[in-house]
Symmetry: C2
Subunit: 346 residues, 2 copies
């Protein structure tokens, strides 16, 4: 066993979209697990939009990554040393090991992954944080009812594709939004969306709205919000009375820096947003899934069988090599991936 | 009985703040009640901020008042003719009779008012629509818990004063916002607010926020939203995680016309508003009380005894004469009243 490992740290804070210079690959000493801890050799690492938020020094639900600090992230890998009886060497574990080839964590904060039941990458996507995010927001906040209409963007992404498939299974009309005709094709063919609109084909919120109006002739009851920007602007006036907006992300605005007048969709003013919520009796609720991990067993009980028998389909976009994680992350933020973004570390 | 009555119609749509020219006093024929209808001689008429919305020709939860049409509104008065067994001549009735000395309505759409139990004006304020609005938003959406902190603007108004008093009775810290030192004095002395801030004493959202931070040292759990604008801008960054925002009005923005860049508080951008909801896991829900009249018995059962024994105090601002309603309404929109705005029609 080597006594060194590699990791990627935050070299500097991005000014708008992240660039490769914001990251630095380092070789450091292999850590030693303490009491109750395990040492894991990471096999697959997850890339998720929330990581962009951690790169800024702004007040948020989580501490920012400090300059020089390890980039945060969830990974799955093999236990190579254990000081806790709940994990044996050779077990697979999911945990928050960051952007790194190896990591140490408290056994209690890790979850055992059954590598025989499902591909271990599922624990990063459809049966992990993104899947739970989609399931929780759709059901707990969205309160879907048969015959209603749901809209979700990033429809081929790990959250959007789960939201769309679960909503479809409940008898909703599902309208996806994605970037590019190829993704739209995947959304309807593989993920069963009734319609998918290519947001790149529309110059502004107004033209996108006209297309949405045709795609959702009975209006929109649930807008699962993960993008903000132009899509939100287009969707808002089409919301039905008593509509619900689970809000778990706003990727179009993550790179907006001060979120000022130059941000995409800034034509959408706060008074207009507020007024729409008021006059349509909308419910908007922000959430982060780390507050709701207690729902994991219920989620897995419902969705794991749907994955196993193919009712819920999975799509992954795997990049080889930790050193390529920054570039894959940068591309993901601009929609370069199709399916769950994962880095194969070993 | 005279065969004529007076009423006020919408002469023209306001461009920004309403002016006297937007209204016209007319003398018309007295209507005759049809089958199942009653004819009421109005004694007191309510003035409420929502009426401003009806004057615009914009999509909303309610139809706009047409040009030349009767201004909408709730009133209480004496039944002078009845074609329905549920009302006798001489009974008092609350109903939607508009800005008028007399009105006809279906008996089923009116409520009998017990003039011996409470002053009949209470049915327009604390025990009527504004009181129910405050009670419903506070309890159903706000979910108040002992020890939490609540902020409400228009703190001496009929909604704000009920919200503050009911929250205080549940053990919350209550911070009011009102226009002018006299109102602030009333808010703390009569309505029991722990603190009341005069928003006119602060030039911008930032300075108001600094004062709010002192007034709410543990942050804000419930922001009962009825104003928008500068107050919302000031409050937002102080919201605690999992905070709740019942949204029933935005009076600061009602006169904003297109709600564009010149609206007060337009420095508050949509991305910032959205981001705050996201990172603090806030729940925002718009509502209009006409969807929740079924809660009236529960509300009256809880609040009427509190009014009767003085736990909930009432303040009314009564203008004499239907012809003075437009001016009283215009002043109410700019905070000229203290307490529930009512017009004594007879």
């Amino acid at each position: 066993m080597s006594d060194q490992m590699q990791r990627i740290v935050l070299a500097s804070r991005p000014d708008g979209a992240p660039t490769p210079e914001n990251f630095r690959l380092e070789t450091v000493e292999m850590p030693t697990p303490g009491d109750g801890e395990i040492l894991v050799e990471v096999h697959y690492m997850s890339l998720d939009p929330y990581m962009r938020g951690r790169m800024d020094d702004a007040k948020s639900y989580a501490q920012p990554v400090p300059i020089g600090g390890l980039m945060e992230g969830g990974s799955v890998g093999k236990v190579i040393a254990s000081n806790d009886p709940s994990f044996a060497v050779g077990d697979f574990a999911f945990g928050s090991f960051g952007w790194a080839t190896h990591g140490v964590a408290h056994a209690k904060q890790c979850q055992k992954v059954d590598a025989d039941a499902v591909p271990i990458t599922a624990s990063l996507g459809v049966l992990g944080m993104p899947g739970l995010t989609g399931w929780y927001g759709l059901n707990e906040i969205g309160q879907p009812k048969e015959g209603e209409t749901l809209v979700v963007a990033a429809a081929t992404g790990p959250v959007g594709s789960v939201v769309g498939q679960l909503a479809k299974a409940k008898g909703l009309r599902t309208v996806g939004i994605a970037g590019g005709s190829e993704k739209c094709e995947i959304a309807t063919r593989e993920f069963g969306f009734d319609v998918c609109l290519d947001h790149r084909a529309f110059d502004d919120a107004k033209s996108l709205r006209a297309a949405l109006k045709e795609a959702a002739p009975n209006g929109i009851d649930i807008y699962y919000e993960n993008v903000g920007g132009k899509v939100l602007d287009a969707v808002l006036p089409l919301m039905n009375p008593h509509g619900r907006i689970p809000l778990c992300g706003m990727i179009a605005w993550y790179n907006a820096g001060g979120l000022g007048a130059n941000a995409e969709g800034a034509g959408l003013t706060a008074p207009r947003l507020w007024r729409t919520i008021l006059v349509n009796f909308l419910t908007v609720r922000g959430f982060i899934i780390s507050n709701h991990w207690n729902k994991l067993p219920q989620f897995l009980g419902e969705v794991a069988p749907m994955v196993a028998d193919g009712r819920v389909k999975v799509k992954e976009d795997i990049t080889e090599g930790l050193e390529n994680a920054p570039q894959a992350f940068i591309e993901m933020l601009t929609g370069g991936n199709t399916g769950k973004a994962i880095v194969k570390v070993k």
